[in-house]
Each structure stands twice: as structure tokens, then as C-alpha cells.
Amino acid sequence: MLRKSEATPPLGEFEVLVLTAVLAARQDAYGAVIHEEIEGLVNGNREVSLGSVYTTLDRLEQKGYLKSWTGEPTPERGGRAKRYYEVQASGQRALRAALEPMKKAALIVEQLG
């Protein structure tokens, strides 16, 4: 019998941010947009490099939480293609599971005033 942690590998803090950003970007989720979304989420409290976003996206894809495909090259990107990402159902489940303790923690903090 598989343990719960093996069935859905837990998400780190940055992975949660990246998955949330991909969800927020909806149909337009590619590197630059995801990076912008994350910068908006952390609200300037943390420096986020595009390299770390890319490595995290790669890792999440390997875990099966994301699906990616290559888009068309555009001139404003110097003729380079985009890589689009989409959150899979397993990714959404993992995100909910990762956010559950945070919600509880937030509730406790609010009750304390």
C-alpha cells in the first residue's frame, strides 16, 4: 500500500507559488507571464529569478502536475517560441492539499486577532 506522501508528493512553498501563478495565468501561462504573476504574488517581498521559475516548472512537470507544449515563435521575443503550461488534475489536488494547512493557520492567526 502506498503512503499518502508517495501518492502525491508534497509541494514546497515555491512550488505552490508557481502552480498558483500557472492557474492565475489561465490560457496564457508561459514563462514570462508566470514570472510576472509570481512577482505579483510575493509583492516585492522576495526576489524571484526566471531561472528558479523554470527549474520549478520542470520539476512540477516531472512530478506530473503540469503539462507543457511549445507555442509559435513571435517577433517581440526575438523569434523564439513560448512554452505553455497547464495544471493537471493531480496538480490541482496537490495544490489544495498544500494550501489546507495554510488556510487553517490563517484562520488561527485571524482568531487571535
Binding site: Y30, G31, A32, H35, E36, E47, S49, L50, G51, S52, Y54, T55, D58, R59, T70, P73, T74, E76, R77, G78, R80, A81, K82, R83
Partner: protein
Amino acid sequence: MPDILNGDPAQPFYRENEVEQLHLFEDASFITCEPASYVDCEPEIAPAGGVDEPDYDRDFVLFSDREMSDLGKKRVAVSFKIAVSVIAAPEVQPIAPVQMSRPEPQRPTPPINAQFLLDLFLPESHCEEFLGDLQERYNKKVPRLGKLRADLWYRKQVFTSLWPLFRAWMKRSSKGSLARVVCFGLRLVGRESWANALRKVADEERKRSI
């Protein structure tokens, strides 16, 4: 007040203000028509004693019946000539509209060629996408922050991205084995594109300084 409706023959046909209008017509007829038109007039209508004494009845008849009809004939003739010349004229090929190609706005160039740094740690396809994303964000930042700060942002992104990319590459390729690290070092040293890329960057910097 003259009885116009009943046509009193003792009274003139027109009123005072109409006389002025007729004078205007008369002047206009002299301007628009050649004096020779009087020569062409029929004898019973043409003035016998010259044009010194104004005869409004006669002038009115001349203007309305003859001069206007002469003018009409002239216009018809001119129109006919124009129509003939238009029909007889060779078919003119329509001039193709000139395509005014608007010069493409010059896109700002990133400060360094990061490709040679990034393709060490990223797969080739990912490297293109990464550089494309960097370029896109840089293009957006230049008008907002200015060239200098956008350049700083770009450099910072490249150099802060190297460490996570290197770490991910290590994890992916070596899984902690020392041999892989040595292989990477050898690849780094023996890489010809490194030298080429460095030369390219140096050339670009030299051109910029000039």
C-alpha cells in the same frame, strides 16, 4: 401697384426689384456670352438701334429664350466633346497604391548575450524559451524603467538564474556523482562555443563603445 395677374398692358410686366434682377441677368449674360451672339440673333428680336438704351422686355426675352438656349447648346457640345474624348482615350491602367512600409520600431537589445551562459545548463529547447521570456520582459521594462535599469534587471536575472539552473542540471545529470561534475568541468573548459561566445561579446562591447 400694377395689376400683374390681369396683365394690364399699360403697366410694365415686372416690379421695381425685378428690374434690378433683370439688370443683373443682363450683366451676367454679357459676361458669359460673347458679344457675337447678338449677330446671330434673328432680325425681328435683335436690337435695331444698338444696345445703348436698355429695353428690359427685349433683354429678358434675349436672355431667357436665346442666350440660355445658346448656352445650353454650347454646354451640350462641350459635354459631347468630353464624352468622345473619354471614350476615345486609351485605357489607363490604374496605378497600384504605393505600399508605404512603415519602418519597424527598433527593439531594445539586451545588454549581454546570455545564450552562451544559459545553454550550458538548459536543454536547447528550454534555452530558447528562457531567452525569449527574458527578452519579452526586458522589452516591457525598457519603456517603464529606462534602458539603464532594464539592463541592470536583465543582468541580474541572468546571473541569479545561473545558480538554480546549475543546481537543477547537477541534480538531473549527476545525481550527486563526482564523475558527472568532472565531466561538466571538462565540457566547460573544452567547449569551443565558449570561446566564440566570449569573442562575440567582446566584439559587441567594442562596437558599442565606438
